[in-house]
C-alpha cells in the first residue's frame, strides 16, 4: 500500500518535481505514467527512501519514508531508472551480492540468485560478464534481483526505456513473474495497459487521474481518434498535428477524407487533457 499526501519536492535550483501530490495505490501492479519530467522518478526515489521530500508525507505499507526509512528498506526492492550492471561481473555475482546486501546468507543468496536467473531465461548467460549481455538481458538481471529478494513491494523505474520491442516483451514477461506488489513508472502507454491493474497519471508533479485502464478510458467509449495534418476547428493541436475525437460511426467519413484513424489508448487521456506524451 502506497500513500502520499500533499507530497512536495522542490530541488535546490528552485524547480518543483512534485507539487502536493496525493495518490494511493494498493493494487498488485500500479503503473505511474507521465511524460519525461512529470515527476515519476522523483516520486519513486522518495518512496524508495533514496531521496527526502521537501514537505508532505509518503507511506509505504503504513511506514513513513522519512522517519521509518530503515523498516521500509527491509521490505522493498527498488530498481533505479537506467540502472546498469558492473560490466566485469556476471549476472549471478551481482544478484547474489544484492541478496547478501539484503541480509541473506551466502548459501541462500546463491541458490535464490540462480533460481531467479534461470526462471527469467538467463540460465546460459548468468555466468558471463554482464558487459557481454544484450540490453534486455541486463534489464532482466535487475528484475531477477526483485524476483529473488521476494520483497513486499518492488519499485521499477522505467524498466524498459531504451529497449527494442522484443527485449521489452521479454522484460514484461519477467515483470509478470514477480510475486510482490509492483509500482512501476513508464511513459509507454502500452506498457501500463499490459502490465498494470491500476494506472496513476501524473503531470508537472501532480496527479491527474487514477483508476483501472478501463475506467480511465470509459469516457471515450464509442469514440475513435482522428489525426489531421494541419489545423482544424475544435481540435487538439500537437505541433503540426491536429487530433479530434469522433463517434466510431463517423470513421468511414474521415477515412474517405484521407485522415488517419486510430483506436483509443491511454495516451488519449493525456492528449485530451492537453498533455502530450511519447508513444
Amino acid at each position: 500500500m502506497i500513500e502520499t499526501e500533499k507530497l512536495t519536492k522542490r530541488y535546490s535550483d528552485g524547480n518543483y518535481a512534485l507539487r502536493e501530490l496525493d495518490i494511493s495505490a494498493s493494487e498488485k501492479v500500479t503503473a505511474i505514467i507521465g511524460r519525461n519530467g512529470a515527476g515519476k522518478t522523483t516520486l519513486i526515489r522518495i518512496l524508495s527512501t533514496q531521496l527526502l521530500p521537501t514537505s508532505g508525507t509518503a507511506r509505504v505499507n503504513g511506514m513513513d519514508v522519512v522517519t521509518e526509512a530503515g523498516s521500509i528498506r527491509k521490505s522493498i526492492v527498488s530498481i533505479p531508472q537506467e540502472a546498469a550492471p558492473i560490466g566485469i561481473l556476471t549476472a549471478f555475482e551481482q544478484v547474489k551480492l544484492y541478496l547478501v546486501g539484503r541480509g541473506m546468507s551466502f548459501k541462500d543468496s546463491a541458490q535464490s540468485a540462480s533460481m531467479a536467473l534461470d526462471e527469467l531465461d538467463l540460465r546460459e548467460a548468468k555466468h558471463y560478464p554482464t558487459d557481454t549481455l544484450s540490453g534486455g538481458m541486463k534489464r532482466k538481471m535487475f528484475v531477477a534481483m526483485a524476483l529473488a529478494a521476494n520483497a513486499e513491494v518492488v519499485f521499477l523505474d522505467e524498466p524498459t526505456t531504451g529497449l527494442d520491442p522484443i527485449s521489452r516483451l521479454e522484460v514484461w514477461s519477467a515483470i509478470r513473474r514477480i510475486h510482490s506488489t509492483v509500482i512501476l513508472t513508464t511513459h509507454y502507454m502500452e506498457e501500463a495497459e499490459q502490465l498494470s491493474n491500476e494506472v496513476i497519471l501524473v503531470d508537472h508533479g501532480r496527479s491527474l487521474e487514477q483508476g483501472t485502464a478501463a475506467d480511465l478510458l470509459s469516457r471515450f467509449r464509442g469514440k475513435i481518434r482522428v489525426e489531421i495534418n494541419g489545423q482544424c476547428q475544435d481540435c487538439i493541436h500537437i505541433g503540426s498535428l491536429s487530433i479530434k475525437y469522433v463517434d466510431r460511426e463517423m470513421a468511414d467519413r474521415y477515412i474517405d477524407m484521407g485522415f488517419a484513424i486510430r483506436p483509443i489508448t491511454l495516451e488519449d487521456i493525456f492528449i485530451s487533457r492537453g498533455v502530450t506524451i511519447e508513444s
Partner: protein
C-alpha cells in the same frame, strides 16, 4: 554492519575484477614503476630504496585516490548507490567494501614491490609489520578522501579528471619517492594535509632510510580518524 556484504563486494569488485581485467594491474603499476625508473636514473641508483619503499605508499594511495572516479561513476552512471540505499546496506558497509576492493587492486603491485624490496635487501620483519600498519591506515584515510570528493561530483564528465588530479597531487608531491629530508620541515607540515606524507615519512624512518619523525605517528592516526568520520558524515547516501 553487514560484513558478509562488505567482503563479498571486495571479493567480487576487487579480486574478480583484477582477475578478469589484467589492464587494471598494469594501470595501477604504471605510475609507481615509472617513478621508480626515473628515480633510479636520476640518482644513479643511490635512491632506489626510497623509491621501492615509496612505491608501496604511492601504489596504495594512488589506487585509493583514483577510486573517487570509480565511486562517482557507480553512483552517477550505474546507479549502484541508489540500488543499495533502498536495501539494508548502510553507507559504512558500502564504503568499506569498496575500500577493500581498491586494496585488492593494489595487491599485484604490493607483491611486485615486495619482490623488488627482497632483492634490494630493504626489509626486516619489524619493517614489514610497520609497513602493513601504515598501509592499512593509508588505505582507510585515502579512500575516505575519495568518498568525500566523489560524493561532491555532480556530473560524470568530471569524474575521471578530478580523480586523476587528486591522485597525482596527493601522491607525487609528498616525499613518497625521495627522502623527506630533501625538503624544508615547513613543507612537510604543509604537505601533511595528504595522509600520504606522514605515511611516507614514517615508512622511510621505519626502514632506516631517514631519521624517524615520531610526530608523524599521531598525525596519520588523527588524519585517518578525521577523514573517515568526515566521509561517514559528508558522503551523500540518501539525497536531500
Amino acid at each position: 554492519m553487514n560484513l558478509k556484504f562488505t567482503f563479498l563486494l571486495a571479493w567480487y569488485y576487487g579480486l574478480r575484477t583484477v582477475g578478469r581485467g589484467p589492464s587494471y594491474i598494469i594501470a595501477s603499476l604504471s605510475s609507481p614503476l615509472t617513478l621508480l625508473f626515473i628515480v633510479f636514473i636520476i640518482s644513479r641508483g643511490t635512491l632506489v630504496k626510497y623509491a621501492i619503499v615509496g612505491g608501496f605508499i604511492g601504489l596504495v594511495a594512488s589506487v585509493a585516490l583514483s577510486s573517487a572516479g570509480d565511486a562517482a561513476f557507480m553512483r552517477l552512471q550505474l546507479r549502484m548507490q541508489d540500488l543499495y540505499v533502498a536495501s539494508r546496506v548502510n553507507p559504512s558497509d558500502y564504503m568499506l567494501g569498496l575500500t577493500l576492493s581498491y586494496l585488492m587492486f593494489s595487491l599485484p603491485g604490493i607483491v611486485l614491490y615486495s619482490i623488488l624490496g627482497y632483492f634490494e635487501n630493504v626489509f626486516t620483519l619489524p619493517d614489514v609489520l610497520a609497513l602493513a600498519g601504515i598501509l592499512a591506515l593509508l588505505v582507510v584515510s585515502t579512500s575516505s578522501i575519495s568518498f568525500i570528493v566523489s560524493s561532491s561530483i555532480k556530473h560524470v564528465r568530471n569524474v575521471w579528471g578530478i580523480a586523476g588530479i587528486m591522485s597525482v597531487v596527493m601522491t607525487v608531491l609528498p616525499p613518497t619517492f625521495y627522502p623527506y629530508t630533501f625538503i624544508p620541515k615547513i613543507a612537510i607540515y604543509a604537505l601533511s594535509v595528504s595522509p600520504v606524507t606522514p605515511a611516507a615519512v614514517l615508512t622511510q624512518g621505519a626502514f632506516g632510510l631517514s631519521p624517524l619523525m615520531t610526530m608523524e605517528i599521531p598525525v596519520i592516526l588523527v588524519e585517518t580518524v578525521v577523514y573517515f568520520s568526515l566521509a561517514r558524515y559528508l558522503t551523500r547516501w540518501r539525497e536531500k
